[in-house]
């Protein structure tokens, strides 16, 4: 967390309410955090734009193919404003971004925003499903490991988590397809059924992809949580107090320690999100799920620059905003920060 520089409330103009608000540590920390996110968000737009416009390679000729005449290329360039200087184009694009207009796809008459919106539910469901799976599995596992450190379960978990952390999603995805779709035919290998069409059909098509996304996360969170739990069990005085009360080890773990670990876990979720989103691209490709990542690969192969730009931007902004959100939530959830920071 950012520790804020002390602000002298007396110098703040405005009403007593504003002053009280400004002296509230949560508000101050949050405000600082919000402010520091602005340049990052701007940087994200800049990088997303430059990635697709400043690097070598001519979009117009690439789009039209090698047999396009120079005249065709020129008129196409004008249509795409490719003849204008880079910074003018960035300015136009940024103005659009701010007003929620990411331009129109080159491959279809749809707007980029509507394309992303139509693909969003699939990716969102995938991410949420994977996170739910992750927590359902890794929290109990971590607690059991921390209850008997160096025990047999703990050791097995260590080995498995190391393996799962080292697994590439495409390897895992294909191996699961071989086992569950080809060999046992429990799940379909590819295809997508919308949630609105059929719940069971949807789960059929989404379960395998979500497992692929979840497995590395399970390995990571189990290890992370276990380490945090153990560290607290061994070094925190409040654990000794609880033991002195006669509270059982299980209860100390689940009621006292886990609770404190969850708060730390929150920020980690934000940090993992970028990786998770990256993995959805591959998983959607393997399982032919019409999500944002699938669209991204599609757009890249079609040289549909506005769509690629838009998706890269949306990914970047999502990661920044989710991290911002978890940081702010952290301030709200951790009572120490909520109250104590007024002294810092």
């Amino acid at each position: 967390m950012n520790i804020s520089v002390p602000v002298q409330p007396a110098r703040w103009p405005g009403s007593a309410f504003v002053r009280r608000l400004a002296s509230s540590p949560t508000v101050r920390v949050s405000a600082r955090r919000l402010l520091s996110a602005i340049p990052v968000l701007w940087g994200v737009t800049l990088l997303a734009f430059l990635l697709l416009n400043a690097l070598p390679g001519d979009a117009a000729s690439a789009l039209l193919g090698i047999d396009a005449t120079p005249a065709e290329i020129r008129s196409f360039s004008i249509k795409l404003h490719l003849n204008e200087p880079l910074w003018t184009r960035y300015g136009h694009w940024l103005a659009g971004v701010v007003t929620g207009n990411l331009g129109t796809s080159l491959a279809s008459p749809q707007s980029v925003v509507s394309i992303i919106a139509s693909r969003l539910p699939v990716t969102l469901e995938l991410v949420i499903y994977a996170l739910v799976l992750t927590f359902v599995v890794s929290v109990p596992l971590a607690v059991v490991c921390a209850r008997w450190p160096r025990g047999i379960i703990d050791r097995i978990c260590l080995v498995l988590s190391m393996a799962s952390l080292s697994t590439a999603p495409y390897v895992l995805g294909l191996l699961l397809v071989i086992v569950f779709a080809v060999h046992w035919s429990i799940f379909p290998a590819i295809g997508y059924t919308a949630l609105s069409t059929s719940l069971t059909g949807n789960l059929d098509t989404m379960t395998l992809p979500s497992i692929v996304l979840a497995i590395p996360l399970i390995g990571f969170y189990t290890r992370f949580l276990r380490a945090d739990l153990l560290e607290q069990m061994q070094s925190e005085d409040y654990v000794v107090t609880a033991r002195a009360k006669g509270v059982s080890e299980w209860r100390i773990l689940t009621r006292h320690v886990l609770r404190n670990s969850f708060i730390g876990l929150l920020t980690v979720i934000g940090l993992n999100l970028a990786t998770l989103i990256g993995a959805t691209v591959i998983v959607e490709q393997i399982f032919s799920l019409p999500g944002i990542g699938y669209e991204l690969l599609n757009a890249i192969s079609n040289r549909d620059v506005p769509v690629v730009e838009g998706i890269v931007l949306v990914f970047g902004i999502t990661v920044v905003l989710v991290n911002l959100l978890t940081d702010l939530l952290y301030g709200v959830l951790d009572p120490r920060i909520r109250h104590v920071r007024s002294r810092s």
């Binding site: 940087g43 690097l55 080292s166 495409y170 191996l175 992370f224 940090l271 970028a274 393997i286 690969l297």
Partner: protein, 295 residues
């Protein structure tokens, strides 16, 4: 892309994963934790780089259409052949070369540029650091695969371009690690003493900071190498990496995918090599981190 050991380290240097390194064995067992993956890696490196020089290995890009789809353990083709008659063993060895080359190059670039970036940021502090860190935040905001994909696509397919593209993720990651490590050193008495004695900044960085952050950087580069190999494979798999006839593990998995229900081994064999390599690199990194007491 495999999730986070390295990614997280890169983005949250304050998190102590060492405590998370889970049950730590003692004595010989701890040595084993480093020795086993180390041996496996050495064996792999030997077979990828040296074996083809001393022993005849079939050309990985010349198929024999009379010998397609040979099963495992066929004479002359230990791991069989694929649908166009390429020898799988030889493709694995040459593919491994690519993986290790790319991983090493990307780590080296990350180590030098990222390391310097992070060190300068942490050592200068203040506004310089704030601005430099915001720049890193921008890079880290993008999913590494997406960032790499966009760059690799713009640059066009080739091994060098893949290396540059992957560096876009490794430089910020190394920068994070090096900054965190430098921050812990910045106010240590020996650094302050050097500064007070009028030692030049570059000299402090080279002689005082670099040796002290080296363990962090080296263990991280092992985790980073594992991640790089996976990401490089992902690029190949998606068709934006090293172009097809070249043997790479990612390309092998990608072509194997089309025949997954008929010849699953076309996917399974390269997958196993990829998995083993990446597990060994991770284990080495982890084991060394524990041994050196690196946070």
């Amino acid at each position: 892309m495999s999730v986070p050991a390295a990614d997280l380290l890169a983005s949250a240097p304050a998190q102590d994963l060492r405590a998370g390194a889970a049950p730590r064995a003692r004595g010989w067992l701890r040595n084993l934790e480093i020795a086993v993956p180390g041996t496996v890696l050495v064996v792999l490196l030997f077979f990828c780089f040296i074996w083809p020089l001393v022993y005849h290995v079939p050309d990985p890009t010349v198929g024999n259409l009379f010998q397609v789809n040979l099963p495992l353990w066929s004479p002359g083709h230990i791991l069989g052949t694929d649908t166009v008659g390429y020898d799988i063993m030889s493709r694995i060895l040459y593919g491994g070369r690519v993986s290790f080359e790319v991983a090493a190059a990307v780590q080296l670039i990350g180590l030098v540029f990222g390391g310097l970036f992070g060190m300068v940021a942490a050592y200068r502090g203040g506004w310089t650091e704030a601005v430099m860190m915001r720049i890193l935040d921008v890079f880290i905001a993008f999913p590494s695969l997406v960032l790499v994909l966009a760059i690799a696509d713009s640059l066009g397919p080739s091994e060098t371009h893949v290396i540059w593209a992957l560096s876009a993720f490794s430089i910020p990651a190394f920068a994070r690690v090096s900054r965190a490590a430098t921050l812990r050193l910045r106010d240590q008495p020996f650094v302050v003493a050097a500064r007070l004695a009028g030692t030049k900044t570059w000299r402090i960085m080279l002689r005082h900071l670099t040796p002290n952050i080296a363990p962090q950087m080296l263990t991280f580069s092992l985790l980073g190498a594992s991640l790089t190999i996976i990401l490089e494979g992902a690029l190949d798999f998606l068709g934006y990496g090293i172009p097809a006839p070249t043997a790479t593990w990612g390309n092998m998995i990608a072509t194997g995918e089309s025949f997954i229900s008929v010849y699953p081994r076309l996917v399974i064999v390269p997958s196993i090599f990829l998995l083993v390599t990446s597990i060994c690199l991770n284990m080495m990194g982890d084991g060394l981190r524990a041994r050196w007491g690196v946070r």
